[in-house]
Amino acid sequence: MSASQIGKKQYLVYLAQVHINFRRAELESLADICGLNDLDFSNYKEDSPFFIVELDNDTQAKEWIKRSILSRAIYEYWGEGKDLTELHQSIKFGTNIEHYKDLYKNDSFKFEFESYRGSNKKVNRISQIETFSYLAFKGKINMKSPDQVYTLIEVFEPVSDNEPSTTPSHMYFGRRVQISDRSSADVFDLKKRPYKGTTSFEAELSLISANIAQVKPGSIMYDPFAGTGSFLCAGGHYGALVIGSDIDGRMIRGKGAQHDISSNFKYYGDTDKFLDVMTMDFTHNSLRNSLGIDTILCDPPYGIRESIKVLGAKDPERFVGKENVEIDGQKAYLLRDYIPTKKPISLDLLLDSLLQFASERLPINGRLAFWMPTANDENIETLVPLHKNLELKYNCVQSFNKWSRRLLVYINRGKDYNGPTNSGLQRSTADFRERYFKNFN
C-alpha cells in the first residue's frame, strides 16, 4: 500500500504550554503560509499540550511546524493509553499500523522519551523499549543519525502543587516527523545578544510575533519603530530582508562597531537579511511609494520612557523664519549637525497613521502586527484601532500584574473591504505613561 492510498493521516502536535493566548494564532498563521486551509482545530484544547490533527503527509507536517515557537514537535500518531498495556493495544489496533511497520521496517532507528509535568526516574528504558518488539523493526539502532525516531511521551498528573507524580497517567507514541523552531527562543535570548537596550523586546515573543505576522523568506519586512532591532532580528531569522527606522538615532546607532544592530545580525549569521536602519520619522516616510512592503511588525513607542514624538514644531510661532537662519554663510538647516525640532503626538494619532500607512503599503493579504499596552484596572473595554481596509485578525493578550499588552494583527483586505473604523477618535481614556508611573491607581 502506498502513502497516497491511505489518505489523510493522524499527527500529534506536542505543544508548549506557555503563551496560550498566542498559540492557536501561531498554528493558524503558519498553516496559512503553507496552504493548509482546512485544518480541523476541533481537537485543540487550550489546557492541553497535545493536539491530534489530520494531514495529507509528512511534508505538510514539516512545513507547518518547522518554524513554530509554541510547538515542540510533530509526530506521526501511532497510539495512546493510560499505561503501556493500553498503549500497546492502541498501537496494535491502529488503522495504519501494518502499513507503517512495513514502510519503516528496514530503517535505522532510535527511541526517545519526553515527559510532561513530571518524570519517570525509576523506569528501566531498555526493558520498556523491549515491550515494543511486536513492531518487528529490522533496521539497526542508530543513536546519532537514525532514519526514524520513535517517541514515547509520558504525561504526569502532579499529586499537588509541590508534589510531582512519579507514575505517568497517560502516554502517547509516535514517529517523529519534525522538531519545531522552539530552540531559537534560546538562541535569540537577550542575555546572549551583543547589542540590546532597555526597550529590547524579549526573544520568544518577538519570534512568535514574526510567525503570526507571517514574515516570509525572500519578502520585505519593515519595523518603523526599530529601536535596538529586536523584531528585525526575528524577521531576518525567518528569511525576510528587514528594514528598520526610528526617529531616535541613538538606539539604532548603538555603541560602536561591535555593539550595534548589524553586529547582532553577524552574531546570528543572518548578515544578508539585514538591509539598513535609518533615522526617520515614520510619519514623514522615506521609503518610496512603489516599494512593496510585505509585512510591518513593530512595538510602537508608548511614551513610557519619553513622550511620543514626530517631526515638526510644538510651538510653530517660535520657528517662523528660522529656515532663513545662516551660520557661516550656509543655511543652518542644511548643516551636517543640524538637529530638527520634534513635537509630541498622541498615541491614538500615531496608531491611526500606522494603520493608514499599512493600508497604503501592504499587498492584499499582507499583515501588520504591532504591540499595544493597556491597563488592567479599567472597567471599560479597550478600544483597539480599526481601519476600513484592514481586518483585525488577532488580538492576543499577555497579562502582567497591573497592565497587559496585546499583539494586534491586521490583514490588508483592500479598498472594497469596508470594515468598521474608529480612526480620528480619541480611544484612550488616559495617558498610559501617566498611569504607568502612578501604578495604575
Binding site: 520585505i220 530582508l241 528594514i243 544578508d272 538591509l275 539598513d276 535609518m278 518610496r288 511609494n289 515638526g312
Partner: protein
Amino acid sequence: MKFLTTNFLKCPVKTCDTSNDNFPLQYNGEKCQLIQDESIEFNPEFLLNILDRIDWAAIIIVARDLGNKSLPPTKPSFSPELSDDDLIVLRDLHTLLLQTSIVDGEMKCKNCGHIYFIKNSIPNLLLPPHLA
C-alpha cells in the same frame, strides 16, 4: 547604508510626492565614502527575490552618481535553473547591492534640494520644521 537602500529611499517631504524628481535621491560622489563588506553572505535565491523589487533605472543613476558607469541598461534576467554565467552576474550584483555601502556622505532631493546626510553608515532623513 547599503547601495540597495538607495533604491528604496525617496525625499520624505510630502509636497515632493507630486514630483517625479524625489526618487532616487542624488548622491554626491565626491563626498560619499564607500566601503565593501565581504563578510555579507551570498545567497543567490534570496537575491533573486529582492531583484524583483528593484527599480533598475534608479540603480543606474545612483551608480553613475557614485562613479560606476559600467552597469547594463536593462535589469539582468535569469533562467530558472541558474547557469554558471547567471551566478557570476548575481555575485556582481551582490557585491554592488549588499556588500557596498556608503559610510559617510550626502544625498539631495532633485525636487526641493534638501540635503540629507549619512553618518556612520546611517542615513538621517529627519526634516526641519518648515519642510515637515
